[in-house]
């Protein structure tokens, strides 16, 4: 994929990130999002930048002759990139729709510099929750006895399973990952070497994904 972008493709005015790095970031984000039970921070700016790039490339391609075989190869490349982007966004939407109340609540506890939802996703989540609440009220909650007419209380059970297991690869050396023990075992502390692969619960390494030291596979 690196061949699609030349050396001169850069994004944004303040951040001069080469295009192929953007793509790599998106790919990693996509994989992480697919395998993670929780919703990860939104890579909104990268998505937007990538889409601009795609549009530009499509415009360039219309200038080439149809029989030039590069056209097909580039179209394929664009189709693949589009697939990564749509799959990434689709996965996020599915997670939002499944655990709406939880995600919105989590979002309010976060600082404004580290949003997990993009603006569009935030609006969507709020609308969707309202839709569900209205729907439930109409069909069920209106008709049940008064003490049971609360909607939000049931939503608290719709949370992602943070203890589900995932495969990961350590991108750099990480020391001191604490794996909680249960009744029978004590807490363990593990060191992850660079490029080693592991399978473990999501919860202990959740923050490691955010700072990029770990990649889900």
């Amino acid at each position: 994929m690196e061949d699609t972008f030349g050396e001169d493709d850069y994004f944004g005015e303040d951040e001069h990130i080469p295009a192929h790095e953007v793509l790599q970031t998106l790919e990693d984000a996509w994989l992480n999002e697919k395998f993670c039970p929780d919703l990860l921070p939104s890579q909104d700016s990268y998505v937007e930048a990538m889409m601009e790039q795609i549009q530009q490339m499509e415009d360039n391609l219309t200038k080439l002759k149809k029989t030039d075989f590069r056209v097909e190869v580039h179209h394929m490349e664009l189709a693949r990139i589009r697939y990564i982007i749509t799959s990434y966004l689709r996965t996020r939407i599915e997670k939002i729709e499944q655990n709406t109340a939880f995600i919105l609540e989590q979002e309010t506890t976060r600082s404004p510099e580290n949003p997990h939802l993009s603006e569009g996703e935030l609006n969507y989540a709020r609308e969707f929750l309202a839709l569900q609440e209205n729907h439930q009220k109409q069909l069920v909650l209106k008709h049940v006895p008064p003490p049971f007419q609360d909607f939000m209380s049931t939503q608290q059970s719709l949370v992602p399973n943070l203890r589900s297991h995932i495969f990961l690869r350590a991108k750099k050396d990480v020391n001191g990952v604490v794996i909680e023990g249960d009744r029978d075992t004590r807490d363990e502390e593990v060191d992850l070497e660079e490029n080693s692969q592991h399978i473990m619960q999501y919860k202990p390494i959740a923050n490691l994904i955010h700072d990029g030291s770990v990649q889900l596979i």
Binding site: A79, R80, H135
Partner: protein
């Protein structure tokens, strides 16, 4: 007796259990109504029993109140799960068929569900438009693309299908075509065309 409690709920939820079933069954309005009646009955019993706490020498009333309360909670949760799962299937329909439902599916929905579907459609459309500044249709490119053109076979007599470049293809049952993947993808997802692999 507690054994019959919430059994109606189980009947409600049973059709939803095979998760692979894609289509929506007929909305079980009767079953839902029966559960409401059961809940009302239990609640009334509870209220009566709570008010009548004086007539409870050996404390068995508390436990029956607790049981009824638990049954009521469970009924409520089952009902909400029923509605929630149906709306999830509806949501999948939106992704598969677009914003217009085929009449055979519409016939199985109750009126609030149809309204929910339309509102969801709009909500989703608004979000998709807001992506990346120019909008992105997330219902496309559902599978990793293997080639730009695919060989497809028509499974039904669909009729004429216009391509982007103005050409018209007649999709009659049993005809085979080679078409641009992006253009016939919606038809493949809907089940009108079948992709042929070699």
């Amino acid at each position: 007796m507690p054994l019959t409690l919430t059994q109606r709920c189980c009947h409600l939820l049973a059709p939803l259990i095979p998760f692979t079933v894609v289509f929506i069954h007929l909305s079980d309005d009767d079953g839902v109504r029966q559960v409401f009646e059961e809940m009302r009955g239990l609640y009334d019993q509870n209220v009566a029993a709570a008010n009548d706490s004086t007539a409870d020498p050996d404390g068995t009333a508390i436990s029956s109140i607790a049981i009824r309360h638990a049954a009521l909670e469970r009924n409520k949760r089952c009902l909400m799960a029923y509605v929630f799962n149906r709306s999830k299937k509806l949501r999948n329909m939106r992704w598969q068929f677009g914003s217009i439902l085929p009449p055979e599916i519409k016939a199985n929905l109750c009126e609030p569900e149809i309204q929910w579907f339309n509102s969801y459609s709009k909500c989703l459309a608004r979000y998709m438009k807001s992506i990346g500044g120019q909008g992105l249709n997330l219902a496309q490119d559902v599978k990793p693309p293997k080639s730009l053109y695919v060989e497809v076979r028509s499974l039904i007599d669909y009729g004429k299908f216009e391509l982007d470049n103005g050409e018209v293809v007649l999709l009659k049952k049993h005809s085979t075509h080679l078409m641009s993947r992006a253009q016939c993808e919606p038809l493949i997802i809907q089940g009108v065309l079948e992709q042929i692999n070699h």
